[in-house]
């Protein structure tokens, strides 16, 4: 292997001078395995000077191509250099008495490379499995037989990850600081109360979405929302939702409404 040829041009196919195909490596271990294979050297006796040089050439080329170099590649470069320099030093008496394995500064790296190779191969084996949606198919639509059946009771299935993602979605919509400033927008809220009341005048109900004429701003949504809450508390409007995920309606309050859920009603549901 001549020092001039870079290890990163993909394949040997004739490519134009301007299209450089950089082989993609998952990380420094992947790159090192590639270099070891390409140079046909013994993994248990890695010629560090060759491998390190080619490794650094790869990083330099990535740099020249303005590619982002992941930190791991740099860390591994330093590790290689460190091992190389250790190998140049005469062993200290301590090291001489140590186990065979510990004496070779490359041992840890070799172990990691072999272990990485194993998992890489395991990944390939995994990809060779009969994959659902690729080699094998199952029925993918909900059976019409069960379509009209209401679940009688509902054991729940949800992953922790989904819970956190849901929380993150909420926080992404509302900045954390504003969480503590609920009262700060009271003037707007008062305005919105009046506007909602006039919108509702003479109507039986309004779509919740109809409360937002024109452009939706976050402040507007919040103010409207708090205004509706306030109106609920004052028992001036009711909020009705046909089913759990249905459309929300606002209607002028009727005494003893059964659908508007207030906190008190919720409390009564709790034994």
């Amino acid at each position: 292997m001549s020092g001039d040829s870079l290890p990163l041009y993909g394949g040997g196919e004739a490519s134009s001078a301007y299209t450089v195909r950089l082989e993609v490596f998952e990380g420094p271990l992947d790159l090192l395995l590639h270099l070891i294979r390409k140079n046909e050297v013994d993994i248990y006796d890695i010629p560090l000077s060759i491998i390190t040089r080619e490794y650094l050439e790869y990083i330099r080329l990535m740099k020249e191509l303005n590619l982002e170099i992941a930190g791991e590649f740099i860390v591994m470069a330093s590790t290689l250099i460190q091992i190389k320099s250790k190998m140049l030093l005469p062993p200290t008496p301590d090291e001489e008495s140590a186990e065979e394995d510990e004496k070779d500064p490359r041992a840890e790296l070799v172990r990691r490379l072999l272990e990485y190779q194993t998992y890489k191969d395991a990944g390939v084996t995994l990809a060779e499995q009969e994959m659902l949606g690729r080699e094998t198919f199952a029925r993918s639509f909900p059976s019409p037989e069960l379509a009209d059946m209401q679940p009688e009771e509902e054991p729940m299935e949800v992953e922790l990850f989904e819970l956190i993602e849901a929380f993150r979605a909420v926080l992404d919509r509302v900045s954390e600081e504003s969480f503590h400033e609920v009262g700060a927008e009271s003037i707007t809220i008062a305005e919105r109360i009046n506007e909602i009341l006039s919108l509702l005048e003479g109507k039986e109900s309004l779509l919740f979405d109809d409360l937002f004429p024109g452009e939706l701003t976050r402040d507007m949504v919040i103010a409207t929302f708090l205004a509706v809450l306030e109106l609920c508390k004052l028992k001036m409007v009711r909020i009705v939702q046909a089913n759990r995920h249905g459309i929300i309606w606002i209607s002028p309050a009727v005494l003893d409404g059964e659908d508007g859920l207030s906190a008190e009603e919720l409390a009564n549901d709790e034994p």
């Binding site: 650094l56 330099r60 992941a70 930190g71 791991e72 740099i74 860390v75 591994m76 470069a77 330093s78 250099i81 460190q82 198919f137 029925r139 993918s140 639509f141 059976s143 019409p144 037989e145 069960l146 059946m149 679940p151 009688e152 509902e154 729940m156 299935e157 949800v158 922790l160 990850f161 989904e162 819970l163 956190i164 849901a166 929380f167 993150r168 909420v170 926080l171 919509r173 509302v174 969480f179 609920v182 919740f208 929302f225 708090l226 509706v228 809450l229 508390k233 909020i239 939702q241 759990r244 995920h245 929300i248 508007g260 859920l261 207030s262 906190a263 919720l266 409390a267 549901d269 709790e270």
Partner: protein
Amino acid sequence: MTNLKSIVESLLFVADTPVALDRLCTLLEEFDRGAVRDALTELLDDYGREGRGVTLVEVAGGYQFRTPAENADYLRRLTRVRPAKFSQSALETLAIIAYRQPVTRAEIEYLRGVDSGGVLKTLLEKKLLRILGKKDIPGKPLIYGTTREFLELFSLKDLKSLPSLKEIRDLSETVQYEQQDELPLGPSEVVARSEEVL
């Protein structure tokens, strides 16, 4: 030899709507229409045998596998234990309460931007939430928290074992190679010098 009957059987099984003979022939253009029809007829015959739990029926202008009506009572039991999926609104509400408890309904609704009465009620019914008491502010709103059942659902030892938001955010962040310090890979000062060796 290609087994046309097997292919038709697979297609009918996987398709999400009843498949008409015409559609089958279009999908299997390299086969003779007559051969496709024969395969279908054989399948209708096979699945038409007495006592099968899966039958091939003509429905909505096509053919589809269905289960016989006499087994319906047993199938209903599947729905009884079918795990319910959480709606996004239920998840959001549950998440807000899990991470911010004790919390009032107004706070939940402020964060979600939508009415949450219905979803709170559902979660209370499912015993994933409980009312902790009343908050000592004007209006004395109820405050909510999660229950033991909530912890069980997520196999959590306690509320402290809830993953923090930061841990999940960290997953999608780009590499900070300071993070590598904890790996046994050598002192970081060497990193700076690696350029000089080139």
